[in-house]
Amino acid sequence: MNIEGKKAIWNDYQKEIADDNYFYVRSCVRQNFFPGSETAFLKIMRDELGKDVYEHPCHTTCTGIGYHSDIVPLETTMTVVARQFALMTEAGYKNLLPSCITSFGLYTEILDTWHHFPEVEEKIRKQLKKATGREFLKPENLAHASDVFYKFRKEIGAKAKYRLVHKNTGEPLKVVDHIGCHYAKMFPSKGVGGAEYPYVLTGMIEEWGGQIIDYPERRHCCGFGFRQYLVQANRGFSIACSKEKFESMKPFKPDMIITNCPGCPMFLDRWQYVINEMEGKRYGQNGEGIPVFTYEEVAGLVLGYDPWDLGLQMHQTDCEPVLDKIGIEYNPEEKFSTNKIVEDVKIHNYVNV
């Protein structure tokens, strides 16, 4: 592989990311999937980086899931999105910061649509006005939360307590990055590094000491694919997609997977468990799974946060192998203790992948 070639492409795909004063919109599903991530994000942004991140209590779903599942019409979606913009405008913010990749994609798509079809924008403005009485300004800057961490990767790196290296050998950890499909596949120019060789997570990992590995099925969807998972009859296809990725990355012996999308870590994590249950296959080394993290979790880990505060006990594929490799201190006893974020976890015969 020619890294110079990649750098040339990365240079072509740089986007403007606001410095401060973000209007944060949450993801619908992340709080259920990995509730520590968004909490960690806000904590890092506010406490570590000293940024102003505002969350409006009235913000809603962007309807992305409904839209991509063909149950919410585009016009409805646009109006809901317009309301988010109105909330931002009312709160006096100009920089929109979605936590969710699908939201990010949807906002991008809608802004682009309005750019090309101003009459649609007008219509939506009227509808929003009619329905809620609100008015809005379009965001001046739209960046995904991972873009912001990418922007401040050096700052985070400077404060880091750990590096993504093997504590014994000093070798960088081999990290698989998985970018949510809606991040840049629709609008390559809106993603850091473009659609084919996205740099957003690679930049973080390289800054924090790890090494990204490039494997053939890198671009493949995690398998969520909305209807693939949501329609039960299609679920086998969802697993098959993840499986294809695992089979493809396995020869590279990755230590961990990092993702920037709500669904991807969920499915890459859970399906490893399911595949193991159904076929007895595991894709990590020494009979383990490949731990899957969100970028916020990884940032939290390098900054020295307690893994259980980050919610890593919610992962079905055990994260401990990575913690041990880096040498992160943690108390195994406390993994499922009730005073942590997860307040009422019954300890089942859990995941042992």
């Binding site: 592989m1 020619n2 070639g5 990649k6 040339a8 492409i9 473009g194 659609a195 084919e196 060789y197 490039d214 494997y215 053939p216 099925e217 890198r218 671009r219 493809s248 020869p251 590279f252």
Partner: protein
């Protein structure tokens, strides 16, 4: 005093046009931006469909264009082009000024920059090369991977930068199919035990003897043809290229490991041509090539009186067609200057 015609571009079209103009008794200036004439033909080793050496055609072009009465300016570009009462005044980048009674634009084509099709990984993965890169290997007599090994499975991707809305080229470059077939055969000649796969959307083998060449590739050389556009390339742990394509005829996605991927880069309006269009006020079409005054009978005539087109500056063309087109341009120039 004989009339002066300036030919812009010293490729196949320009050389042919200059030669023919000179034969007709005009005073000719041939302007070429590189340090030697020939243009794209210099990048090709053997020509389809008969696989003759390109130098033979180059020899012919040299023979007709290196004559008294043809003034050759190499490493020269045109900076200014103005029309003053039936004559053109031209200023080159070196400050030379000249006047011309007529101009033949023969700025030709540039090969599509394959790195723009990022998903194929040209410039990123080792062993993803272009058709021109493969010609270079043929010229050196050795097809090898970057690690020096001989490839055993080679994929050829048709329509790279052609018929592709994503890169803004809706048109067909016409000649990549036959080039792919020619190169597939040449690969098999060099490495008989190799497996060669052509990934195509349609096989457009319209020229004389092209279809026969296609058949030969199948029958004699066992080249495999898979109908489907390669969607992406990746790299496996053992440094092989992994391509994904839909085998549209089987109606199934297909994954294959290859040692080498050859991209059949299409033809695009040349940068030089774009510049001439800008400074000369020449119209270009949606495909960015020069647009001609009439599709059927005015394919050499531009929107500016006295400026004529020759060759691939108006769209993809084979060498055969280019030479015919250049001769036709000369005929239009003669008509034009006789009327004056």
């Amino acid at each position: 005093m004989s009339k002066h015609v300036v030919v812009i571009g010293g490729g196949v079209a320009g050389m042919e046009a200059a030669g023919q103009l000179s034969k007709c008794g005009f005073e000719v200036t041939l302007i070429e931006k590189e340090n030697k004439t020939g243009g794209n033909i210099n990048n090709w080793y053997k020509l389809f469909p008969d696989r003759r050496d390109s130098s033979e055609v180059k020899e012919y072009l040299d023979m007709i264009s290196q004559k008294n009465g043809i003034k050759l300016l190499t490493e020269t570009t045109i900076e200014k082009l103005n029309r003053h009462c039936d004559r053109f005044s031209i200023t080159t980048d070196k400050g030379t000024e000249m006047t011309a009674d007529a101009i033949i634009v023969a700025t030709g084509f540039d090969l599509f920059k394959s790195s723009r099709k990022e998903e194929y990984g040209y410039g990123i993965y080792d062993n993803v090369i272009t058709s021109a890169g493969l010609e270079e290997m043929f010229r050196n007599g050795k097809i090898s991977l970057t690690n020096g090994k001989i490839p055993s499975a080679i994929g050829i991707v048709h329509c790279v930068g052609s018929r592709d809305e994503k890169v803004g080229n809706l048109y067909c470059s016409k000649l990549c199919c036959v080039t792919a077939v020619k190169q597939a055969i040449e690969i098999k000649e060099h490495i008989p035990e190799s497996k060669v796969f052509c990934f195509y959307m349609d096989m457009r083998m319209g020229g004389t003897h092209y279809e026969e060449l296609y058949r030969e590739a199948q029958e004699k050389w066992g080249v495999n043809f898979i109908r489907g556009k390669v969607s992406e390339a990746g790299e496996s742990i053992d440094n092989k290229l992994v391509i994904k394509v839909e085998d549209t005829l089987a109606g199934r996605p297909l994954k294959m490991e290859l040692d080498m991927l050859v991209l059949m880069a299409g033809m695009e309006m040349s940068e030089g041509g774009k510049k001439i269009a800008r400074i000369g006020g020449l119209n270009t079409g949606e495909n960015r090539f020069f647009s001609t005054s009439d599709h059927h009978y005015g394919s050499n005539i531009s929107n500016v009186k006295g400026i004529f087109y020759a060759g691939t500056c108006i769209g993809p063309m084979s060498i055969t067609d280019t030479i015919s087109h250049s001769r036709a341009a000369v005929s239009d120039v003669m008509d034009f200057l006789r009327d004056q």
